[in-house]
Symmetry: C2
Subunit: 409 residues, 2 copies
């Protein structure tokens, strides 16, 4: 078991680790928008790099290009725009490649070592022109600007999302930090999310890919905002080795602590993404215990978090636990519903509402007090084994509908 | 192929077929509600009877009792309440059996020939008392009152849902009609819906069950309002044989016409249920063609109808076809996304928006005009084969959130 207390939160996002610089500017991808729309992250040295992508069959052009660039396990920079998803565009691959070529021209990092991402509307024509115009400003401003890069990749996000930690590998201090954008079209596997993580830890590309692929199963794949799996999801990690630890090239204690550090950052980002779901007023965490199988734990936790009716009830601070039970019942997992216990918990306390699959008396007033908080835990015990899981979502609100009723205009 | 023109729409709902009477009253299951809450349908003669139920592992007590009663293939009455789902209640089976006993006491139909249904909040204590008090009034008012029975089973439904048809089997006029309630917690397989259909056609219980089980695959299992599969869904059909046709006891032309008549009624009810989804302002039909496999057609059509983002875009009359393509991509079906065509169609016309998986120029103004109508067809051609499917849903609106944010109070 990892001692998570040895992993310390620090500021700095993607610039927390040694050798990474970032920037974000407005280049004008959408004439109507005043926000930053182009982000750049660059490492001093070439990095081991690994990524996972959306399971949607419709994949953005940037994903196709990034996949090729990461085939050798290395990268040195990330470029990412908001305002256009560069998906279902006739010249999408050309544009994505053009973005990487711009990075080469302005930073010297070879185009084949660039990770490229896009987020925004699908199927809108896109031009390189605004990025060509903005690139000099973007590159010359590279520095300790994780916050600006984060701002530039946001779409309907209302708050920036970054996290970083410090940890030790055999006495050598390492750092790892990330930025994320989320908000809508977010559902396992994975969410419409772009997550870029940097570290100065030394690790081989193979072990880094293993860490990323394992991590995502209990982090980003356990987040749902609206059940829609995006076409652009990318979770990419670059590790440049500048911490000077002995390179992690196999399983063992060093790998475990790296995994734990990564998971600390990704879970923080997951919770931030869920809490900032489009229109959300609350973070919902389904904390599932007592499952007979690991997959059952995950399936049931996700089903609860995805239930529109449960989400709407949480918006209304309504302890309508029947909807939780209903979502457990239709999850597809093999569950003995007559053993299920359900409680709601928040800073304001805990209220038990269902025992052995049937209602138990509780104070509506107390339940209301618990559910009016902005971070709600839905505790489900299947009483059928020792496996557990956690999934994160948000409430369903008027504003989700408002934001998505006319997103393009 | 069936000639559907020989199937004529008629009025009368569950009382259209010979020998059926119905009624609906308010007995006061929820003190706070003024609406009718108890429905009764009775046949003069014992009927062949068949049903399908929710796939949710959490099943209402009425379903458990109805299953037992239909084990022999026969029934003669339906009793159904709204205002309480009788699910996850300690004494649920006792209450459901008590409802059937009340039917026996007041109509003479044996309790074991009664189909029982409930709809409303899950996990609320329930008492037989209001039904005991109302039963004399309910039974004495039995007559040509399909509309009252329909009214009594409604919950958040805003319009009654009934349909009936007349058709001929070997020159003998037969009738078949039904009532349905829908609105929320509606998702394949099946939806929170209660559907009761009656017919005077003579058919064996075995062939009736076959007809029902086949029908549901392309009718109620293709409806989604919110992705939540209810605990109480029941689709039950009773056929009393009073039309006098030669009994349908095998596959063949007679069975086919019965199937077609049933499907005509169930599809009408599906469209009504989807259009009256909680908070809905529009009926969305995804008409899927060109699939390589029948299951692909169904999976993709349902995925489009279930996409929260597509549903919200339709509410906003926003031709954001990228969300349709996204939902096709994450459906889980094996689709070549680069062959997909998408169009939107309504009474106001048709606008083609995507060809071979990429956007094509279209007039936003014309698209708006098409999408402002209240019945929208989303036409998807996979251009990969000859199979087709149709699925029905509705838009996602502020009112869905409002209704479900505090349903219990």
């Amino acid at each position: 078991m990892i001692n998570y207390t040895e992993i310390t939160a620090i500021p700095g996002g993607v610039c927390a680790a040694r050798g990474f610089a970032a920037n974000g500017i407005r280049c004008g991808i959408r004439a109507s928008s005043k926000k930053r729309d182009l982000a750049l992250i660059v490492s001093e040295r070439r990095c081991a790099a690994a990524a996972v992508y959306t399971a949607n069959l419709v994949k953005s052009a940037p994903i196709r290009v990034t996949r090729e660039h990461l085939a050798d396990g290395y990268a040195q920079a990330v470029i990412c725009n908001s305002g256009n998803a560069n998906t279902c565009n006739a010249n999408g691959v050309e544009i994505a490649q053009g973005m990487c070529a711009l990075v080469e021209r302005y930073t010297g990092v070879p185009a084949f070592d660039v990770i490229v991402g896009s987020t925004g509307v699908i199927g809108q024509p896109m031009s390189l022109e605004p990025m060509e115009r903005g690139m000099a400003e973007l590159a010359s401003g590279l520095g300790d600007n994780s916050n600006l890069a984060e701002d530039a990749i946001m779409t309907t996000d209302t708050v920036p999302k970054e996290a970083a930690v410090e940890f030790e590998i055999e006495g050598v201090k390492c750092r790892l930090g990330g930025i994320a954008k989320g908000s809508g079209m977010i559902h396992p596997n994975m969410a419409t999310m772009l997550v870029f993580v940097t570290s100065d830890c030394a690790i081989t590309p193979q072990m880094l890919q293993r860490a990323v692929s394992e991590d995502v199963k209990t982090s980003f794949n356990m987040v749902s905002v609206d059940g829609d799996t995006s076409t652009n999801d990318t979770f990419a990690v670059m590790a440049n080795g500048m911490a000077g630890n002995q390179v992690i090239d196999s399983k063992g204690a060093d790998f475990d602590i790296f995994r734990a550090a990564l998971h600390t950052v990704t879970v923080k980002l997951c919770r931030m993404i869920a809490k900032d779901g489009e229109g959300a007023t609350k973070l919902l965490s389904c904390i599932l215990s007592g499952a007979g199988e690991p997959e059952t734990a995950k399936t049931v936790a996700k089903s609860v978090i995805c239930s529109s009716l449960t989400k709407a009830a949480m918006f209304g601070a309504d302890a309508n636990w029947g909807r939780v039970l209903c979502a457990i019942g239709y999850s597809g997992a093999d569950v003995d519903v007559e053993k299920v216990d359900v409680s709601f918990r928040s800073r304001a306390g805990q209220v038990d509402v269902c025992k052995n699959g049937a209602g138990i008396p509780f104070s509506e007033e107390e339940a209301k007090r618990v559910l009016l908080e902005d971070e709600i835990d839905i505790l489900v015990n299947l009483n059928d084994g020792d496996f557990s899981a956690e999934a994160w979502g948000c409430d369903l609100t008027y504003d989700y509908v408002k934001i998505n009723g006319d997103y393009r205009t």
